[in-house]
């Protein structure tokens, strides 16, 4: 009878699942993992963004200062507001990446607003000058929006609708398009993902096919093999980055401000880290099929936490430490700083240190894990 036949199949498959604890765990953990990470990462608005305020406004009659009101109306959940003495110092801080924007109120700001309010539409326009780091579009948009909200709220309380405008000056990322922001991120993501995947799968087949054993029976050591892979994949990673860059320049007309070579070094380092991660993960799998099960744990954290699609600043601060243990985070940061802001090694060395440390750690672990398996 048909019904009985298919039930025997169903039973057998369940039996298989019961016997295979790994698959069982995957079935349970992976969806939760995905849901939590997606949920948490998306729920986060841009928060705690460092912004400087240079308030030169004299106000009128001492009592009234519109700029003070605007500043107090800035949403402190989004912006971490710090006072700054003068425009030059503030600009330098934005340029150095210590702040995302400087909001500047001129000396006669309140007077302009009041005269604009009292006078006709021909009255002078009051302007809030914002020196903005536009290289990170989500953050830039959040800043502009927050300032705008504060303006509207203040003007409502002051009286009519004054013609106050925001004059946003792009410190970085002038005319930055989404692709300019996105390409450095996707470069890192693709290299991380593909390198990890390739090493994972090819190393599992090295193990299962016996070629790893054959190699280890020769004069090759575990370290030789790991390094051999590392070199291969750092080259492959750079080739991938080159391909992406060329296409991005030709097709999407992205603009690159800084020294692309630095970005390539960051990509190559990431590839080295990724292949070591792949080798490490391969020791958890006995068959090719099992290797596929660890993929969600490779892909999702990078996808969601590394600042590829939305900035690390948009991730809830308590979740951010996780971002800093996901290797592509550093490459994304370095590539963006170089390509959009034109930063040199002096300003992104910390990313390189992090990548080098991760490479050393994961390479050592990969070798160590291979040796441990001899026991």
């Amino acid at each position: 009878m048909k019904r009985i036949r298919f039930i025997t199949v169903t039973k057998r498959v369940f039996q298989d699942l019961r016997n295979d604890k790994r698959t069982l765990a995957l079935i349970i953990i992976a969806p939760l993992f995905a849901m939590f990470i997606f949920g948490l990462a998306f729920s986060g608005e841009v928060k705690n963004v460092r912004v400087l305020v240079v308030n030169q406004d004299h106000g009128v009659h001492k009592a009234l200062s519109v700029s003070d009101k605007i500043i107090s109306n800035l949403d402190r959940a989004v912006l971490d507001v710090k006072q700054s003495g003068d425009e030059g110092a503030a600009l330098k801080q934005v340029k150095d990446g210590d702040a995302f924007a400087a909001i500047i109120f001129s000396a006669d700001f309140t007077r302009s607003v009041m005269s604009g309010t009292q006078g006709s539409s021909t009255g002078e326009n009051a302007t809030v000058k914002v020196l903005l780091d536009k290289s990170n579009i989500n953050v830039a948009n959040a800043i502009t929006k927050t300032i705008n909200d504060a303006l509207l709220k203040t003007m409502d309380s002051v009286g009519k609708k004054p013609p106050v405008s925001i004059d946003a000056v792009a410190v970085f990322g002038k005319n930055a398009k989404f692709m300019d922001f996105f390409v450095p991120g996707i470069m890192a993501f693709v290299v991380y993902l593909i390198t990890t995947l390739l090493t994972l799968i090819s190393f599992v087949s090295e193990r299962t096919s016996g070629t790893l054993q054959r190699m280890l029976s020769t004069t090759l050591t575990e370290r030789d093999i790991v390094l051999g892979y590392a070199v291969t994949f750092s080259i492959v990673g750079m080739a991938q980055a080159l391909l992406l860059l060329v296409v991005a320049i030709l097709v999407f007309h992205i603009t690159i401000v800084g020294n692309v070579l630095l970005a390539f070094v960051a990509i190559a380092l990431l590839a080295v880290v990724s292949q070591a991660v792949g080798i490490l993960l391969s020791s958890t799998a006995k068959r090719e099929a099992q290797a596929i099960q660890v993929l969600p744990f490779v892909i999702l954290p990078a996808f969601l936490l590394a600042g590829i699609f939305w900035p690390v600043e948009a991730i809830p601060s308590w979740l951010r430490p996780l971002s800093y243990i996901v290797p592509p985070t550093y490459t994304v940061d370095a590539c963006r700083a170089v390509m959009l802001k034109g930063y040199g090694i002096g300003k992104i060395w910390i990313d390189f240190v992090a990548l080098l440390a991760m490479a050393a750690f994961f390479l050592t672990m990969a070798v160590w894990f291979m040796k441990v398996r001899k026991d």
Binding site: S209, G210, Q213, R214, L216, S217, T218, T221, D375
Partner: protein, 253 residues
């Protein structure tokens, strides 16, 4: 092509009190093993007897829990022995995405052989295993028997003095098995030593000496004639059973 080693001992492999213990059991349990230079030594026994574990310890692929082993007089594990050993794993252990030529070349280059040297040896090996015209075929496209032959070639390319062959004839059809034994005898004829594991009793008769392995230890050792005489039978399988029974009886006493 002679067997050149720097020690004067008549033994190529010498293992004393060799133990491999995992969490649950001892795969190899105080094994004493001596393989003479220039002989074909067959490690014979059922699955789980510890044959593969023994081979892997000799190759340095598994750590020795206790006891010690020497190959060509050098203490195992030692990477300096690696170029003396040609290890052929149970699995095919080839890269299916590479051609026959590329596989052989890779395993030659590991030992630092030059391009000319590899090409010469490869040609000889391909003639030897009758696969000269398949040189540029992807290994993945070859039949199982062909892969086995290529695998053997990859273990020979650096001209090792000791061949450790782990069940090289499992899943191989009788015809190819016969030609494999022709290969082995030819390799032996060049002064090499071969240690071969198998659970095919009929193959054992082709070895110079046999060690019956069971539960991680040798239960009997000698030439085929010696073993048959000792067990007073005319079949190796029966001989194995008799030795096993004898050991079990001894354990009960």
């Amino acid at each position: 092509m002679g067997c050149v080693t720097d020690n004067d001992s008549e033994y190529m492999v010498e293992a004393k009190e060799l133990v491999k213990r995992s969490v649950k059991f001892s795969a190899v349990d105080h094994l004493d093993l001596r393989v003479k230079k220039g002989e074909i030594y067959g490690l014979l026994g059922p699955n789980g007897a510890g044959k593969t574990t023994t081979i892997k310890m000799l190759c340095g692929l598994l750590k020795i829990t206790s006891g010690e082993a020497h190959i060509t007089g050098k203490h195992v594990p030692d990477k300096r022995i690696a170029s003396d050993i040609g290890y052929m794993p149970q699995e095919t252990a080839l890269y299916p995405g590479l051609t026959v030529h590329q596989n052989i070349k890779f395993f030659g280059e590991i030992f630092g052989l030059g391009k000319r040297e590899i090409e010469e040896r490869e040609q000889r090996l391909l003639d030897f295993i009758n696969l000269a015209e398949w040189k540029d075929e992807l290994v993945g496209n070859l039949s199982g028997g062909m892969k086995h032959r290529v695998s053997l070639a990859c273990s020979l390319v650096h001209e090792p003095t000791l061949l450790l062959l782990d069940e090289p004839t499992v899943g191989v059809d009788p015809e190819l098995r016969a030609s494999f034994w022709d290969y082995f005898n030819e390799i032996k004829g060049r002064g090499r030593t071969i240690v071969i594991t198998t659970h095919y009793m009929d193959e054992a008769s082709r070895c110079d000496r046999i060690g019956f392995m069971r539960n991680g230890n040798l239960i009997a050792e000698g030439t085929v004639e010696e073993l048959l005489e000792l067990a007073e039978t005319d079949g190796l399988e029966e001989a194995f059973m008799k030795f096993a029974e004898k050991v079990d009886r001894g354990a009960e006493l």
